[in-house]
Amino acid sequence: MTKGNTSSASKRPALICALELPAFFLLLLNPLLHADPSRPTLPPEDRTNGKHTLAAIENLKPHTVGCAARVESLLGRTIGTATIVGNDGYVLMKASEVPDLEKTRIKFSDGRKADLREVHREPRLDLVLAQAVGITGLHPASLEAAARTLPLGQWLCSVAHAGTETRLGIVSARTRRIRGEGAAMGIRMEEKPAKAGKGVRIVGVASDSPAEAAGLKEGDVLLSIAGENASDFQRVHDIIKQRQPGETLELRIQREKQEETCRVRLASRTKVLDNWNGEDFANGGVSLRNDNFPEVLQHDIPLLPTDMGGPVATLEGKIVGINIARVDRVTTFALPVEVFWPETQQWIHADRHPPKAVLAK
């Protein structure tokens, strides 16, 4: 349809279209993306993660929401999700999101709240096993399923919204190992040392990066990093590279003659560099650590970084993994059950049965 067709004064009628065009027909002339009110649109509740579709998995809630809990800061802010792995309060969480369990509390779906005691931290898997202090009678996740053999297209559901709701998605790519590229802060540094050979000047800060989150600005001079004087940009680079995503570094910086201290939580290098210009459409952000896992199950369930640590189940209600990283708009990684559960059982056993003192002969 062209503009020529819309004129009723033309000698011949336009082909296969109205002689007198209603106003909205003109919208057909617009490029693809223009709103076209004449077109039926699927209401949000009928979409893949709308409530009419999610009705199908309502009965699975005991297997998903029922064995998840909300991890919050002392101020009540949601910082993560936990999967219940023992009726006496044992839970698993994404370790890099909860560096300091003393500053967190756990809230169960029955409303009970508790402090957390750290039992075992496993950086290789980015998991931390903790126990909710003084809590019994929980409904633990059943972790006997096989995840490695799940084919692409297999429906999965997962907890979202601080462990209170469910979301739907599929196994979207092959189960595989994800290599690590180390950590990054998201700064560009001047090669030559700053004034009087003291410190390194920051000449660029990446969007949504740990450096930006910590309040670093272009022009700041980095004086020390992790207790070491920052005399050379290469050395600063090496210090950061040796760390893991999720670790916190203390910096001293100089800004307009004022010296300040700030703390930066490092993130996975790949993601910081990919998003240097803020082109990441992750819809709610990405996890600090999203690589360096021995094996992951990839799915497309729409989740947030704070949903990591929660369980992932099949339509039969079998838990097949724990969400471990929100990577980008289309990718979430889960650790398959086979990868963490044998070890986790050993950590729980060792904690329940500490070595007994033996009388010295």
Binding site: L15, I16, A18
Partner: protein, 333 residues
């Protein structure tokens, strides 16, 4: 940016038309009735996807044009590839193509339609039959609520990962596009959106910020501009007759039926016996409820295609067969 899922304020004229159509079975501004999904439906979807996947994924390729990485899909044994126009950006460009197994070959971009973001390319190696999928000619069938699935290489080709699958629903059909909730990102551009016959119904084109705002080029511009694209032409505007040419003008009757208002001299419609005043009831068995749907149905067909039209002439229903022609040069524009 417009908020998907809400109806933007529209002109009074539109409202009247929409209200008038509300009574018909498939009214233009009427959302499909809400039904609750059950677990059996989900399991059926899963089964269908898993059945189709091994075959269709072989036709999905990664495309590297300059520094950029994108996707595409092979649609013929002799290596025609559909992709998005913003991938090659111009005809005659050399593209590096990576197949699912990681093997690398080359292609040349043919024609493209920058208005709709549709483009065609051809694999240079003609020595062996390529794995391919069919495209759907039933453009209007992709209605809101239909399940669909997307494949592509988000973030670039990764052999260990393979192409990434997403299952979702059609949210909206526009003149040249489809919106779905199959979530896309950079690198997916040019990749295929499939229906549950394993046919390509869309080519990933753009995303907006919302998770449900994923836009695919529909097959309409490809079918309409097929010959021009094969000849490596850049299509900047598209005319009504760029697809198959029937040669009728329609109007909505008082009974809200698609009626013939005029028949063009020398057109296939005239030769087939279509006359002014006829009511068009169905095309190839699909009931016709509004002009937009009828014109999209005709335009989605290529010249030479046969259409079966069910008409009502002076109260009598009858079927005719008509072969679409090339659009005459002096027509329209």
């Amino acid at each position: 940016m417009f908020p998907l899922g809400t109806f933007p304020a529209c002109k009074a004229a539109t409202m009247i038309v929409a209200a008038g159509l509300f009574a018909s079975t498939l009214a233009a501004a009427d959302a499909p009735p809400a039904t609750l999904t059950d677990i059996a439906t989900l399991q059926h979807i899963q089964q269908e996807v898993q059945q189709l996947l091994p075959r269709v994924r072989q036709a999905v390729v990664a495309i590297q044009a300059g520094n950029g990485t994108a996707s595409g899909v092979i649609i013929s044994a002799d290596g025609l590839v559909l992709t998005a126009a913003h991938v090659p950006d111009k005809p005659g460009r050399d593209l590096k193509v990576v197949l699912e197994d990681g093997s690398v070959t080359t292609a040349k971009s043919l024609g493209l339609d920058k208005t709709t973001d549709a483009a065609l390319a051809r694999l240079k190696d003609r020595g062996k039959p390529w794995p391919f999928v069919n495209l759907s000619r039933e453009v209007t069938k992709a209605q809101p609520g239909e399940w669909c699935f997307a494949l592509g290489h988000p973030g670039g080709f990764d052999k260990a990962r393979g192409p990434v699958l997403r299952v979702g629903k059609i949210i909206k059909q526009t003149a040249n596009g489809l919106h779905s909730d199959c979530v896309l990102m950079g690198g997916d551009s040019g990749g295929p959106l499939f229906n549950f016959n394993g046919e390509v119904i869309g080519i990933h084109s753009q995303i907006w910020e919302g998770r449900d705002q994923n836009v695919h080029v529909s097959m309409a511009p490809f079918l309409r501009s097929w010959d021009a694209m094969q000849k490596s032409q850049v299509i900047k505007t598209w005319g009504v007759g760029a697809g198959g040419y029937l040669g009728v003008a329609t109007v909505m009757s008082d009974d809200l039926e698609v009626a013939v208002a005029d028949v063009i001299e020398g057109s296939p419609a005239l030769k087939a016996g279509i006359r002014t005043g006829d009511v068009i009831l169905s095309v190839n068995g699909d009931p016709m409820t509004d002009q937009q749907q009828f014109s999209a149905t005709v335009r989605a067909r290529a010249a030479g295609d046969q259409l079966k039209l069910k008409l009502r002439t002076q109260g009598k229903e009858h079927e005719i067969s008509v072969k679409l022609a090339q659009k005459p040069q002096d027509e329209g524009q």
